[in-house]
Structure formats: C-alpha cells, structure tokens
Symmetry: C2
Subunit: 408 residues, 2 copies
Amino acid sequence: MVAQSGGPTVAINASLLGIYEKAKQIGVKKVYGACFGVEGLIEGKIVDLDEVFAGFRRNLLMQTPACFLGSCRKRLPLVNDDSLIYDKILNIFKKLDVGAFFYIGGNDSMETVAKMSAYVKSVGCEISIVGVPKTIDNDLFGTDHCPGFGSAAKFVATTFLELERDCSVYCFPAITIVEIMGRDAGWLTAAAALARLNGMQGPNLIYCCEQSFRLDDFFADLNGEIKNKKKAFVLVAVSEGLQILEKSKGFEGKKGWFDEFGHAKNSGVAKFLEIAVKKEFGCKVRSIELSLPQRCCAHLASGVDLQESRQVGAYAVDLAQEGLNGVMATIKRVSNEPYRIEFGFVEALKIAGKVKQMSFEMLSGRNDVSKKAVDYLKPLIQGEVLIERKNGLPLYAQLNEATYIDLE
Amino acid sequence: MVAQSGGPTVAINASLLGIYEKAKQIGVKKVYGACFGVEGLIEGKIVDLDEVFAGFRRNLLMQTPACFLGSCRKRLPLVNDDSLIYDKILNIFKKLDVGAFFYIGGNDSMETVAKMSAYVKSVGCEISIVGVPKTIDNDLFGTDHCPGFGSAAKFVATTFLELERDCSVYCFPAITIVEIMGRDAGWLTAAAALARLNGMQGPNLIYCCEQSFRLDDFFADLNGEIKNKKKAFVLVAVSEGLQILEKSKGFEGKKGWFDEFGHAKNSGVAKFLEIAVKKEFGCKVRSIELSLPQRCCAHLASGVDLQESRQVGAYAVDLAQEGLNGVMATIKRVSNEPYRIEFGFVEALKIAGKVKQMSFEMLSGRNDVSKKAVDYLKPLIQGEVLIERKNGLPLYAQLNEATYIDLE
C-alpha cells in the first residue's frame, strides 16, 4: 500500500509510479493506494491501484504535479495517547493482507513512518513501513537531496532568468524582491543563483534564512548595488523564512508589522521588505511571491528529478523486500561531475521532524551563496521533460470519482 | 529604425526580428535600433543592428522575453507644446537617412506613432512611421488580438491547470484567489477558462473587470461553489482591474482598505479579497498574484503567438514600403477552425489611448466567460516552442554593453 503526504511537489507522482511498477515487477499481487495520506487511511479511503490503472495511461503520472492520491497534514498521536488509531490502521492492513506500506512525504511524514513502524513491531507484525522522501524545501536529513526539489529549483532559476530580462528594460532605478518558499531552510532560494550560469547577472542579492538579516545591512547592500551597477535594476531573492533581527527604521521587526486586522499576517517577508525599502529609497520597488507555482510547475520539471524520484520509489520497494522497517530511502551523491548517485536508507526516527539547513560553506557572506552551493545545485535541474500536450496545454492525470474498496 | 515601448511581453523580440529580417530581405542597407523607446531615441541612444547582429545568434531573439532594445513609458508632448523634441528626432532621422520608423508597443505607443507621423507629414518629410502591436492585455482596438497575448494566455491556462492539481490534494475547504494582469480589460483573466479544455474543472469562478462585482455577490457565488461541489477547494480567477462596487461587510470599498502607512496600496485586489473572504468564511484562503512571470514566461511561449509576432513585424515593413504613414499593422481573424488570419492596418490615431474591453457576448453571467470567448482564445495558445537550453536553463539574448553610434 502506498500513500502521499505533506505539500505537493512536481515529482511525488513519479515516486508513486516507481513504487507501483517495481511492486508489479517483483510479482506483488495487489497494490493499494490510501487516499489523503494517513488521514484517509484511517477513514478507510483505499483504492485498488490495479483497477485505477487499468485502461489508464499511468505514464501521465510522470508529468502530473501534486499528489495523485491526495495528501494530508495529519500527525499521528503517540501510541500511548491513542492506540485505537493504530489498531484501526493495523486492522485495515490485515484485512487487505498488506505486506508493506510506503509513505511518500517530508520530515513530518517520516515521524509517521517511525511511529507506525514502532507500533507494528511492538505488536509482532511483519509489515514493512518505508518512507520515500519528497519536499521542495530540500531540508530532509539523511539524503543528499530530496525528490521534488530539483524541479522547483529549475523553476526558480528559470523564473529569475526571465525576471531579469523583464526588469532590465527600463532606465529608471527599480528594486524587485522575490520571495521563495522555504520556511526553515534556504535551499530553494539558493537556486536563484543558477540563473547566473548562462551569462546573465542573476540575482544581485540572495538572502537565505540561514543568514543573519538586518534591515540596515539590507539597505546598505542595496545602496552598494545601486551605486556599483551599470544597470538600473536590482533583483533580490529572499527566503520565505527569513528572520528580520532588529527593530529599526520605524519597523518593529517583522512581527510588529502584523496587525490585528490581519493585513500583514497574510503578506510575506517580500511584501514587508518592499514597504520598508520603498520608505527608505523612494524608488520603484516591487515584491513578488513565487507562491504555489514553484511547487506544482510540472511543465518545467527537471528530468533528473523525475527520474530519481521514480527510482527512489522503486528502491523503497527493494528495501521492503529486504525486510527493512521504519526506514526512509535516501539518495547519496557519489560525484558532481559527472553527476552520479546511489540509493541508500536511513532510520526514519533519526530524521523525523528535523530540518537540514544549508551549511556555512554553502553561503557566501551575508547576501549570497558560494560556488559550492552552485556546484551542488546544478546537476539537480538538468534534463528536460517532453510534456505530452493537447489543445496547447499539458495533459495531467487525476483520480476521478475514486471508488473506495469495501472494507466490510 | 525600430524601437520597443511599454511593458515587456514574450513576443516583442519576435516582432523586432521580423522587422529586421524583412528589411534586409528587401535590400534595406542599414537597420538601426533606438534603445529605450522614444526616450532613448531623443537622447541619441541608437545602435547599428547590423553590427549588433554580426556574429550574434539572432534566432535567440525568438525565445527571449521582454525588450531586447529596452523600453520606456514616455509620452511625447503635443507638437504645439514642445516641437523641439520632434525637431531633435527628425534631425536624428535625417542624419541617419532613416526612411521608416517602427514602434512596437501598446495603445500609448500608438499615440506616439500618430503624433510622430503627424509631425513628419506637417514638415513635408516622407518618413513612414508604422506601429507594431504588442500587449499581454490584448486591449488594442483595430486588431483581432495582440502579439504577446497568446503566450501570456498559455501561461495563465497552464498555471491554472497546475494550481488545480495543487489545490485538490487536501480534504479541508480552501479558497484560492488568483490575480491576473489586466488593468482595463479581462482578456487575460478569461484565458484561465482554457484550463477546462483537457478534462479538468478549471477555475470555478472567473471575474473579469468588465463584469459588475459586488462582495455580497462574490460571497454568494463562493457559498454556491462550496455547497455544490464534490471537491473541497474553490479556485477563483480575478482581473487586476476589478472594481469593487459596494461598501459592505465592514469593508469600505477597495479604496477604503488602503491605509496611510501604505500597506494595502502595495497589495492587489486578490489580497484584498483574501482578507474579506477569510473574515466571512473563516476557512483557509490564499491569494496569488501571477505578477511579472505572466508577461515574461518565454519558456512557455505560444508557437502561434511567436510566429504571428514575427510575421506582423515583417508585414509592417511591407506597409512602410507601400508608403503608409501613421498606421499600425493589425491581425484579422479569418476563421477559428481551422484557425486562419490575415494582416491589415489601421490608422494609429483611431486606436491611440483607447482600450478594447471584452464584449458582452464573451462573458457569461457575473462570474464566467462564454463559449465564444473560449473559441476565440483557444487558437492563440497553440503550438510549442522548442527552447534552446544550456545547463538545464533557457538561453536568452541580451544587448551587452551597447555601443551607441556617434551622431556628431
């Protein structure tokens, strides 16, 4: 049985496909899908994937973003707090003769993998619970990088290339601040630097949430850019999770800007900075939140990302076949050039709920990333995906009117 | 001589290429580019395009977004108010033996075409001033549609397909409000409806700025969607230029929401609606501004759009050769299926500064567009562009360290 969890990515369905195909390849009789993650699993929202995929062009899954089976944000309780939920899940597993459960998700989902695994072991049950990584944030421990991240990084870099063309057309000074997803880690923000690869200047300033950020420093950095540059525009990349450290220039820190009415609570850090910079500099300032498109931009997927996501799904099936339980499949980088990887695994408990931030050597000063970061990121955005289209638009797969199997 | 003006699009460089190549084809000895529109022209920022393109892969222009020659927002004064500017331009034209001037732009730029044309005629000069249309807003009179629009429409439709996948993954109710460019016309917002072509539900509600919009109606529409739908999410497309007609529910109209500190002035209509809906419904609400990417998304260009943009540029050269002056090249639609067009022209004076909104029959009720709109829009997003890439990213052209020619 397989389920998907957490925020959508472009590659999570490639992992689903990898799991399904590998399972059929090794002769597994039935593959089930649990819809809406563990939440749907508990409610018995199970589909027979062999039936779903009969007469279904399942290769479309490779190019379809988000979660084909739906997702959830549910955290399982501690077994001691509510063992009934675990009993419920176990009953469903037994009823359907489930030998392995694959959970594709991020660090919260790996907590679920660890808890479920501990439970089935504690009751002497031999069901393998195996995690498959995915997150555009790339912040999972134990794996060199996360499926889904490469495609999001390719979108960010491509968008920066295009924004640079757009911002360069006028003569008057203008500052554009682009907010990139990543609450706890700046990996995706760092990917903006890849826009420099093809002879463009790329973002002038990059602020990852691992870097100390002060408004006064930021203003000084902008001043430096405006004075030293031939071109009139300044393009800035900032992490969604940027922490503004000081109270200064009339702004009482990021939190102080949020008011009771709820305006600013709905705005991100780029909008906050836009207002601060406009007040300080008086020139044209624009903020852009890349928002959801960066995690569902399947039309711009990285070929490397999709291929690895499919393979890591298949590898998770290998792990289950070897009897491993409570682990997450991982990607290990063998070399950057030529780019080579191997697959491995790690105890889910070791990575559950943890966040892997960018290391000091991936950063450069307070407003850029290092060559090491670029070398690390570059292989992950390679390869184009030939999207199947109709009517000038991509064809995406969806689970239509799912018929949940009868568990009675 | 050719110049570009107004906001960037994906196709404006295709028109530049079309003009250049046609001019060379008919034996024009020199083709100049005026950088930064008429503003740069007046300042003598002229490049020799034959030199710029020597050893330059000018086919990259077909896939490069925004304005290769730069742009401006400058409006020329009335001749009676400041004829010196016109003399300055005429002197440059005479010095360089310019026989025709092509201005690629929107409705403000066509005002410039009309004024310049009237001036050269008034002084008995035989220089052809010809406009070439472009705008993602598609709001130019006299032409069936505008170069640049089709690519933006393809981006909007594709993004809606992807957002629908993204928004459909959770079980809990959520409303997503997407703001699309178009201050005065809803054409680009209407393109969101194309997301329905490939079997997806598409946006549940579409509000173009031509439709009357009241918050109470909007809340009622949302309630209807939430009650009648199988899925938990509601996806809404709104025009940037939407006018909110009533004061209601504690919001004193859109303007009342803007405060002195400047918060809301920086936010768009989608953010305003997000806050209003959150207050009314209490569920998860998100607003997304598609922002600049919708006008510079070259990686997702429409093949039809780029081809037509190149052709309309070449056709403008034909018009100049026929001695026409003060006109804009246009596109006339011959049929929808099969899609066929012809080129034509219109007096620039007749369209200058005017806005073509969507007609009543293109709309459907207060919250959707009609089949007629879809039939009109569909041909414009057809055709894929095989983008040349390096390092996993598109290769875009830029005018590096332009050497302006010496006018002394």
